[in-house]
């Protein structure tokens, strides 16, 4: 499966986001040490590594969600399309409209399915009429492969859906603001294998429109959905490269130990 993708990959080599020398401290805890990563456009990038290795921390740096943690301090440089996202002139709210996020636990708003998806376009003023908004809601739900299941009950509460449906609703919500990058923090960890397969299929489809960054504990998942993989260990980026290379011939002995199950 990966071999097939090797051919597709060659089209996009442009970096959408690039991180250089990123360090994160939580109080006195040095959580992320000197990370350099390029997130390519229209590519799925997977972050793997054992718990507490800093992969989620790094993901949350990419849309400045770490700003909400009082003790977190981020240094280094992260650029998106050549612009420093930690520049004091950047409003994180505007950044997050471009860099959407899906969380580990499905967290739909306690509102209707329609309102969940419509919330982002509404606050960003992306639509002018109700008809336009309806259209955005429908296309987002279609992109998240949820439309057929919920089209007859858009007014029903989003929290009444099953776990897998809730997570796809969260993806639809993130997609609705037309982001350029979509961050996913272990999106399938609370889902059963069937729902997981649906979400993975979805990720592959979303790649056509924007870059996706996914944090996962499952190496099989990383191998299935991603074109590039980064392996984190103890706060450092150990190895970053094409998914096929990482899983078949890793350069670093720690990467090899992890993917063969000796550390983790």
């Amino acid at each position: 499966m990966n071999d097939m993708r090797l051919t597709e990959r060659a089209v996009t080599e442009k970096a959408k986001m690039s991180a250089r020398g990123v360090q994160v401290h939580y109080g006195t805890n040095h959580a992320l040490k000197d990370v350099d990563v390029d997130i390519l456009d229209k590519t799925v990038t997977a972050f793997i590594g054992p718990s507490g290795c800093g992969k989620s921390t790094f993901l949350r740096c990419l849309n400045r969600m770490n700003d909400t943690v009082a003790s977190a301090r981020v240094t280094g440089k992260i650029e998106m399309d050549g612009q420093d996202i930690y520049d004091p002139r950047v409003d994180p709210v505007q950044l997050r409209a471009k860099v959407g996020m899906v969380f580990q636990k499905p967290n739909p708003f306690p509102k209707s399915i329609y309102d969940n998806v419509a919330y982002g376009p509404k606050i960003h003023g992306l639509t002018r009429t109700k008809a336009e908004l309806d259209e955005v809601v429908e296309s987002s739900l279609r992109k998240a492969a949820l439309w057929n299941e919920v089209k007859d009950r858009l007014a029903a509460p989003g929290t009444g859906l099953s776990g897998g449906q809730q997570q796809r609703l969260c993806i639809a919500r993130a997609v609705a603001t037309s982001p350029e990058v979509l961050l996913m923090d272990e999106p399938c960890s609370a889902l059963d294998p069937i729902a997981t397969a649906q979400v993975e299929e979805l990720i592959d489809e979303l790649r056509a429109q924007f870059s996706v960054v996914i944090v996962t504990h499952s190496m099989q998942q990383a191998a299935r959905v991603s074109q590039r993989t980064a392996f984190f260990h103890l706060g450092s980026l150990v190895e970053y490269g094409e998914t096929g290379t990482i899983f078949t011939s890793p350069r670093d002995p720690r990467t090899e130990s992890y993917i063969t199950g000796r550390i983790g």
């Binding site: 969600m65 505007q94 997050r96 996020m101 967290n107 919330y119 606050i123 509460p157 969260c170």
Partner: protein
């Protein structure tokens, strides 16, 4: 299966340890049950005592009179000028009532028992003449007509029909004689004395020691309502804004910790201390009027704020972090995340806290005593906002001052006032429950 000593044990026979554990659980259940039972018993005793004493306050005995309002006596000039008519005092009106009463007895054929005119008048409230005068002065065109007038019976006569006063107790009573009571009984038999719902209890202002029958809660209810209005308008926005700032926006450092500890402590400060603060700050320093609902409202606001802040912060805290993350994740600003998502979810808790705080403020009397709301207030406060600065009373303070009076009729009134106060509290709690239901989404 074997126990620690290695003996085989049977599953059908509980061992000593299990028996002891089960016994402990039974004892604990019994203690819990008796605690609840004791609480229910206390509530029943309280309610039956208050209802038993107070329900009769909502009934009032009155005598219906037909009074010819003679122009010669009330308005000699014939010009119907209230300023001139005011020269006729209550004594003049009293004579009219006295004659009407005599005529009525004669007409109905009730033997007046040889009572003197003054004793006859003793059956009626001393307030009757003043009432009649007020009505005529308010509407001078009544002069010359025949007015049907409901005069309140004297507190003792009222008590006689409610069983509080007996012929025996009247023998030792300077305010009533057994003969008067016997006449009242004959009048009641002839259908001249009636008992009806006591609207005056809810609308009249307080009355002097000698006229318990005309004492009412009108001024106290208005005063309490004004204060609750002030407390609600001030404490809800200030309390919620302070909580949102402290919980969602403020940096967590030594200063905010200090503020948090102080708010928790303020909630436990005895209310009389707030009264002293109000006396010093609002009355002595700022020069606000005494006995005024504005001062009462301000001190109750100070008292209610910590309760509201603590309740609001607790309910903000209980909103799952995922909701904030989700909102921030789609690019909502902090304010949007709070007002669109966090606050609606916290609303039921905030409302409950606010109503609890308001209920506590409504029943508070100690701080009001210190700012002079215990004063005897006969005039209704004006309508707001001017009325906030007029002297008024408050329900709990009215209960307090009535229980201090000698006449047993006031004990009945005090219990009646407690019933009114409890009805207000019940209403507020019902409103809280309804609001909660409305805000509580079922998902």
């Amino acid at each position: 299966m074997s126990d620690a000593t290695g003996h085989k044990t049977s599953l059908l026979e509980p061992d000593a340890r299990t028996k002891a554990r089960n016994a402990a659980e039974r004892r604990f259940r019994l203690m819990g049950l008796s605690a609840v039972g004791l609480g229910v018993l206390a509530l029943v005793v309280l309610l039956s005592s208050v209802l038993g004493n107070g329900l009769s306050a909502f009934q009032q005995t009155s005598i219906s009179l037909t009074i010819p309002l003679d122009e010669k006596k009330l308005d000699k000039s014939g010009k119907r000028d209230p300023a001139v008519m005011a020269k006729v005092t209550t004594v003049g009106y009293g004579k009219l009532i006295q004659e009407a009463l005599k005529d009525m007895l004669a007409e109905a054929g009730v033997d007046d028992g040889g009572l003197k005119p003054k004793e006859l008048m003793g059956l009626l409230s001393k307030e009757a003449a003043a009432d009649l005068r007020d009505r005529v002065l308010a509407d001078p065109s009544l002069v010359g007509t025949t007015l049907s007038f409901n005069a309140m019976a004297n507190g003792r006569v009222d008590g006689f029909f409610k069983g509080r006063v007996t012929l025996k107790s009247a023998e030792r009573d300077a305010n009533i004689t057994p003969e008067q009571l016997q006449l009242a009984q004959r009048m009641a038999d002839a259908g001249l004395i009636k008992t009806g719902f006591n609207w005056a209890f809810l609308t009249n202002p307080d009355a002097s020691e000698l006229r318990p029958e005309s004492a009412g809660l009108g001024v106290a209810i208005l005063g309490s309502a004004y204060m609750m209005l002030i407390v609600l308008v001030l404490s809800l926005p200030i309390g919620v804004a302070a909580s949102i700032y402290l919980e969602e926006l403020a940096p967590k450092n030594r200063w905010t910790d200090l503020i948090e500890i102080n708010i928790a402590n303020l909630a436990a400060v005895p209310s009389i201390v707030f009264g002293i603060l109000a006396l010093a700050l609002f009355i002595n320093f700022l020069g606000l009027p005494q006995s005024a609902p504005i001062v009462g409202g301000l001190v109750l606001t100070l008292m209610t704020l910590p309760t509201i802040i603590i309740a609001t912060r607790a309910s903000l805290k209980s909103v799952p972090q995922g909701v904030r993350d989700a909102a921030l994740g789609v690019g909502a600003s902090k304010m949007q995340a709070i007002f669109h998502h966090v606050l609606p979810l916290a609303m039921p808790g905030i409302l409950t806290g606010t109503i609890l705080g308001l209920a506590r403020a409504l029943g508070e009397s100690a701080p009001l005593l210190l700012i002079g709301m215990v004063a005897f207030v006969k005039d209704y406060p004006a309508s707001p906002p001017q009325g906030f600065f007029d002297p008024a009373s408050a329900l709990p303070v009215q209960v307090y001052s009535w229980t201090q009076r000698a006449d047993p009729a006031f004990a009945e009134r005090a219990s009646g006032a407690i019933i009114v106060l409890m009805l207000f509290l019940l209403t507020m709690n019902a409103v809280a429950i309804i609001l909660r239901r409305r805000f509580e989404r079922r998902w």
